[in-house]
């Protein structure tokens, strides 16, 4: 991607999603949206507001409350000439469509000998820190990434939201797009030109020399803050962007340079993304590492409701800063 000739504009993540989907729907009439309350309400976070009027009820389709059929029918539509963009309101509802995700969406192309394209985008959101309690407050990108056949991206900044969401919609493979409720109102500069980010490419969001922090979504913003705070340490912040397939090389390169790494994410410490990030680092930078990788995440409990408890379990800027200091 080149943004050399392009201007930028400051936008919030939520507006970027609306704009990007609108542009993709204009670009290709096979692109349409289906999900609960996407029409009228504009989706669960009102992000799709106005797309119904622009594109009509056929292309912004309200479904019944039927996640199996929402996902499965989108798959069937993707297999036969459409390019659906599904909204699953909260990632916690993905379980209802568990079989369609695990056995149909993820495996169809492979089982059939690679003989069809499945241009299917499934948008959903991680929510943590909104006192939404265990079922609504989850981060589940690790759970979907554990299924071969699903590409999984995590959007974090306004600019990557545009590049990744557009890439997902244009991809001929099923892509799970995990947004995060905690970054919808984050603002940043977004190139005005049309662009996509390659699915499978991580980015060094902020270069540094002493410690690498690999972070996603709201933890990426916390990582920026932590990096500012520990101003005596030069911190390199890496955003994986795509969780599956993971960009091993970009992460490992940073790790080899700094020899000290923190990985932070909202998933559980056991079988969460952190263990995969850490393994990637250990394997590819083993002889350059000075210390074990510091993993920060949720310590293997569902998300409790009470603010005092939820604050305890979700990683924050302090946790990241402490880990950086411990290594530096």
């Amino acid at each position: 991607m080149s943004t050399a000739t392009s201007g930028t504009e400051e936008m919030a993540v939520r507006d970027v999603i609306n704009q990007a989907l609108g542009e993709e729907m204009e670009r290709d009439e096979r692109v349409y949206i289906q999900g609960i309350d996407v029409n009228g309400r504009g989706g669960t976070s009102n992000i799709l507001k106005g797309l119904d009027e622009r594109f009509g009820d056929e292309r912004v389709r309200n479904t019944p409350i039927s996640e199996v059929s929402i996902v499965g029918s989108a798959l069937g539509a993707a297999a036969t000439g459409m390019r659906p963009v599904v909204e699953i309101m909260y990632c916690g509802f993905l379980g209802v469509a568990g079989d369609q995700l695990l056995n149909q969406v993820a495996k169809m192309r492979y089982m059939f000998g690679g003989k069809l394209d499945l241009p299917l985008t499934i948008r959903t959101k991680n929510v943590m820190g909104a006192n939404a309690a265990a079922q609504h407050s989850q981060a589940l990108h690790h759970w979907l990434a554990a299924i071969p056949g699903l590409k999984v991206v995590c959007t974090s900044t306004p600019a990557d939201t545009k590049g990744l969401l557009k890439a997902a919609v244009r991809s001929n493979d099923p892509v799970m797009v995990f947004e995060h409720g905690g970054v919808y109102n984050r603002k940043g500069e977004v190139p005005t030109e049309d662009y996509v980010y390659e699915i499978g490419e991580a980015a060094v969001e902020r270069p540094g020399e002493d410690v690498t922090v690999v972070a996603t979504q709201n933890q990426l913003w916390n990582a920026f803050e932590a990096a500012d705070r520990v101003d005596d340490v030069s911190v390199e912040v890496v955003s994986p962007r795509t969780i599956s397939p993971l960009d091993t090389e970009t992460i490992a390169e940073s790790a080899r340079k700094t020899g000290r790494c923190v990985v932070v994410d909202d998933t559980p410490l056991s079988y969460g993304t952190q263990s995969q990030f850490a393994t990637t680092i250990y394997e590819n930078a083993f002889f350059d590492l000075d210390f074990p990788v510091q993993r920060i995440g949720v310590n293997d409990v569902p998300t409790p409701f009470s603010p005092s408890l939820e604050d305890e379990v979700i990683p924050d800027t302090d946790d990241i800063a402490d880990a950086i200091r411990k290594l530096a």
């Binding site: 609960i36 309350d37 029409n39 009228g40 309400r41 309200n62 019944p64 409350i65 039927s66 996640e67 199996v68 916690g92 509802f93 209802v96 909104a130 006192n131 939404a132 309690a133 265990a134 079922q135 609504h136 310590n299 293997d300 409990v301 569902p302 409790p304 409701f305 009470s306 603010p307 005092s308 408890l309 939820e310 604050d311 305890e312 379990v313």
Partner: protein, 336 residues
């Protein structure tokens, strides 16, 4: 008394007053927590039961202590009607240690298993299989306990409803499904979420399973009670599952914060004419079951109760952060 007689019996005055009180307590609780939520005292989401009080009240009045229920994201009414204490409920909504779930659950997960209340549920239709299991357990343990599952019109579109009622019908379980048809699933009307064939009578969703079906006025607490009573007696006596549609209306937004853009003009006002907390006190006063003054007294008592519940919640401590790591698994136990 045969079930039919039981259902037809004159409802004694004290029970009618009790039902009125329950409805009034739900209304008061909901109205107050609505304010406290607006004041940002209550964190998270809040789905209010205002307008639907007659349903939880009528159904739960037909239950005995040994019975079970599962609820939804809109669960406060079911809790109060089931006899849960408003102070521990309020404390739970406030995320306090003294709440029913020690602050771990919040509004969407209040439960009191001791009281047979197997939880609110944040997943649409998520509680129906659980209630089916309670009904199975009741039967396997050779009791005459019954299980009631409350759910919204929207839940009828989830596979979980169908799998559960199919299984309950095969096994003739003492399961009662209460469809609370409040005209909307979130911000979308019934007609966009259900085929035309269902709109006159949502219990048709239970037709394949051969379960007993009733469609009733969900704003008439006595009709709800009588219908539930019949279903409960039938279930207790091995007569199998029932599906009841209670036609009602949600007076507040889907959740607090909902702009309610989707309501046709006048619809809300029209339904409010039938507000059970308008019509039922009037009826009981008219029929001389309670005097106006007694009702005012009752209301005052309830206002005090809820005020105290809120005070209790406010004054209770937040759970110690370390408690976040407790309660996931049973302590000890062989092979635990």
């Amino acid at each position: 008394m045969s079930p039919a007689d039981e259902a037809k019996r004159e409802i004694p005055a004290d029970e009618r007053i009790e039902m009125l009180r329950t409805m009034r307590r739900i209304r008061e609780f909901e109205s107050v927590v609505q304010n406290k939520f607006a004041d940002a005292e209550i964190p998270g989401f809040l789905h209010l039961y205002i307008g639907q009080e007659a349903i939880a009240t009528g159904v739960c009045h037909a239950l005995e202590e040994k019975d079970y229920l599962t609820s939804t994201h809109r669960g406060h009414g079911h809790c109060i009607a089931r006899g849960l204490d408003t102070d521990r409920m309020a404390a739970e909504l406030y995320g306090k240690e003294t709440g029913y779930c020690n602050g771990k659950g919040g509004s969407m997960h209040i439960a009191d298993v001791e009281a047979g209340m197997l939880g609110a549920n944040g997943i649409v239709a998520g509680g129906i299989p659980i209630a089916t299991g309670a009904a199975l357990s009741a039967k396997m343990r050779d009791t005459d306990e019954v299980a009631v599952s409350f759910f919204g019109d929207g839940a009828l579109s989830e596979g979980a409803f169908h799998e559960s009622f199919n299984q309950a019908a095969i096994w003739e379980l003492p399961l009662i499904g209460v469809i609370e048809n409040n005209q909307y699933g979130e911000m979308t009307g019934l007609d966009e979420q259900h085929p035309p064939s269902t709109l006159d009578d949502l219990t048709i969703y239970g037709e394949p399973y051969g379960v007993h079906r009733e469609r009733i006025d969900g704003m008439d607490v006595e009709e709800v009670y009588r219908t539930a009573m019949e279903a409960v007696e039938r279930a207790r006596n091995g007569g199998g599952p029932t599906l009841i549609e209670c036609v009602a209306y949600r007076f507040e937004g889907h959740h607090e914060g909902d702009s309610q853009f989707y309501r046709p003009e006048g619809e809300l006002d029209e339904w409010k004419q039938r507000d059970p907390l308008l019509t039922y006190p009037e009826k009981l006063v008219d029929e001389g079951v309670i005097t106006e003054a007694e009702y005012v007294d009752m209301e005052e008592g309830i206002e005090t109760e809820i005020q105290e519940a809120i005070e209790f919640a406010r004054e209770s401590p937040l759970p110690d952060p370390e408690q976040a790591y407790e309660g996931l698994y049973a302590e000890g136990g062989e092979g635990a």
